[in-house]
């Protein structure tokens, strides 16, 4: 198995532990990755608030690069995945628009998007392509007794037409992986809610309330950790946890893991390899013991 790895911005910036963990997990699983070093930001639904066609051309360029590599794209960010799927669906639905996008793309880069590349998130690859049985056979350190609350991230589910989840109103993809790793999934009311990250700069109070609700909900349901496929959710849930604790006068100390980190832990990766020390809320050392 071989994928073109689309890192996104956060895994190259404030979430470098995500990229490290993805490389470790995939090496242990025997999934070969070729990093797309020339791919640009997906726009995160922000560039399209100003210039939707600019965002679509940047994404068409990314898709065309993967098509040239002859590889499907693996995302490690739910927001990138949702934005990519939306761009793909939009371009497929409107052939005249695709032609216009491709004309620009060809003139500026020589590339052309043919509409053939498959785009999937790391966890979707594990479920759809790799298979849970094969994943289980690679586990060397089952996460028995570890209670994990999945936090999906909006772009994985909504709007439904851009989601590849089986049942985006009540998904269980992450829970299936949690169970396969030997851990116990925790159900809680905020599992499918927004973390508030997109309005962090516009209305920090609201962003912190949303993050706080999720963390307090997960902790209250007995979680030892939260796992998320979205590094933006991760930033809010982890880096801003002290603010949430102050605002609500509670102690949380709830580690927030990226999904590749959780998988890699069960595959025997070390604390250092997964850069768990860089988390604001560090998971206990025993987790990688």
């Amino acid at each position: 198995m071989k994928y073109a790895l689309y890192t996104g911005c956060v895994a190259k910036g404030a979430g470098r532990e995500l990229l490290a963990a993805t490389n470790v997990a995939c090496a242990k699983l025997g999934i070969e990755l070729v990093e797309m070093t020339a791919a640009a930001c997906c726009g995160a639904g922000v560039i399209s608030e100003d210039n939707p066609m600019l965002a679509d051309i940047l994404n068409a360029r990314t898709f065309a690069q993967a098509e040239e590599m002859g590889l499907p794209i693996m995302n490690i960010c739910t927001t990138c995945q949702g934005v990519h799927r939306k761009a793909q669906i939009k371009l497929k639905k409107d052939p005249a628009y695709l032609e216009r996008v491709n004309k620009e793309l060809k003139e500026q880069t020589g590339l052309e998007y043919k509409g053939t590349v498959k785009v999937r998130h790391f966890y979707e690859v594990l479920l759809e392509e790799y298979g849970l049985d094969k994943l289980k056979s690679k586990i060397t350190r089952p996460l028995n007794g570890y209670k994990v609350a999945a936090f999906y991230g909006c772009y994985a589910m909504r709007p439904h037409e851009y989601s590849d989840l089986q049942n985006p109103d009540n998904p269980d993809e992450l829970e299936k992986i949690i169970i396969a790793l030997g851990a116990t999934p925790i159900d809680y009311a905020e599992r499918l809610k927004c973390c508030g990250f997109p309005i962090l700069m516009m209305n920090k109070t609201n962003a912190m309330k949303l993050t706080g609700n999720a963390l307090i909900g997960a902790k209250g349901a007995g979680a030892d950790a939260v796992v998320t496929p979205c590094p933006l959710c991760h930033l809010n849930l982890d880096a801003y946890q002290p603010e949430v604790e102050n605002m609500n006068d509670v102690e949380l100390k709830l580690p927030v893991l990226h999904i590749p980190q959780l998988v890699a832990l069960a595959l025997g990766a070390s604390y250092e390899e997964l850069r768990l020390k860089t988390h604001i809320v560090r998971p206990p050392a025993e987790i990688a013991g």
């Binding site: 608030e49 500026q108 609201n206 002290p242």
Partner: protein
């Protein structure tokens, strides 16, 4: 016909102030809508059950409720699609206060709609002899928003309203788009400035609930994006939301990737000292952990291709 249990939220503050669930068992006739199930329960089992309805044809927007935790229009939904382990759970719309059972107080919802001045404000000086006509092309810009039936499904499931009762809400934003994009309206800039105020359009997190729950083609999230596009195009940039878009676009155009050190500072505003100080604790915390974004931001390979695409940006707006 297999029997289904309707688990329905009951609350009558005048006579029974403790909210509870009541169960009604009923076989599902093939093709029956949820609204017809409610009518059947009321007619045959319990006349005290209270809910709103009128047209039964997905036009009046009065029969929205929450089924299994998500807002739906009950006249437009097949009951059979909602059965989970033999049960359909019904609750009143979220982000509201309950009047009785499934009937909620929608006054805050209507107040939000009134706030966006949902009427046409044409040029008062021109005195046309006949009605102001629109081209088909111009009409299509507002076609989606005009299909809103004000059912409140988007309001119910909006994540921001759960934490901020002052948020304008998705239906009012869709209504605002309808007038901002109306080529006969002359108050576009005023409308964009008002909607860019705190608790307005930039407070939406794009959680996508509104468009997912919307039973028509109004799809508020799409309209919200269009309002932001208009605000950016018309130069209504004096707020952190618009500055965030400008900073985001700028850094991606330079390096192909986001500069996570620069975007927050420009979004908050270079001269906004309290705002900048507010960024300090998390910045220092991340620096201490080695989690800070690289000081010299990373650029993608072949970044000149990105710059070439960017140089054509204005063409893409046409």
């Amino acid at each position: 016909m297999s029997k289904v249990t309707f688990r329905i939220f009951r609350f009558d503050p005048a006579n029974d102030p403790t909210p509870r669930y009541q169960e009604y068992e009923m076989p599902l006739e093939p093709g029956i809508t949820l609204l017809n199930c409610l009518n059947k329960i009321k007619a045959e089992k319990d006349a005290t059950l209270t809910y709103r309805m009128s047209c039964g044809s997905a036009i009046c927007g009065s029969c929205a409720v929450r089924a299994n935790g998500h807002a739906i229009l009950s006249c437009k939904t097949q009951a059979s699609e909602l059965v989970k382990d033999g049960v359909i759970q019904l609750d009143p719309l979220g982000n509201t206060s309950v009047i009785r059972d499934l009937a909620v107080d929608l006054e805050p919802f209507w107040a939000s709609i009134r706030k966006v001045k949902p009427w046409l404000m044409p040029d008062a000086t021109d005195n046309p002899e006949k009605e102001r006509l629109q081209s088909q092309e111009d009409y299509l810009k507002i076609d989606h928003a005009t299909t809103c039936i004000m059912c409140g499904a988007c309001w119910s499931d909006c994540n921001v309203l759960e934490v901020d009762k002052k948020f304008i809400g998705p239906a009012a934003l869709a209504k605002a788009q309808r007038f901002i994009y109306d080529t006969r309206d002359v108050k576009t800039i005023d409308r964009l400035e008002e909607i860019s105020e705190p608790h307005g359009v930039w407070d939406c997190t794009h959680c996508g609930e509104c468009s997912t729950r919307c039973p028509t083609d109004a799809r508020p999230l799409g309209r919200i994006e269009e309002i932001k596009q208009a605000a950016m195009a018309e130069g209504v940039h004096g707020n952190s939301g618009a500055r965030h878009v400008l900073a985001f676009r700028e850094t991606v155009g330079k390096r192909g990737l986001l500069d996570e050190n620069y975007v927050p500072v420009r979004s908050v505003g270079f001269l906004n000292i309290p705002g900048l100080l507010g960024l300090m604790p998390v910045g220092l915390r991340m620096l201490w952990r080695g989690k800070n974004p690289p000081v010299i931001p990373h650029s993608v390979d072949k970044v000149e291709e990105v710059k070439k695409i960017y140089s054509r940006s204005e063409e893409f707006r046409k």
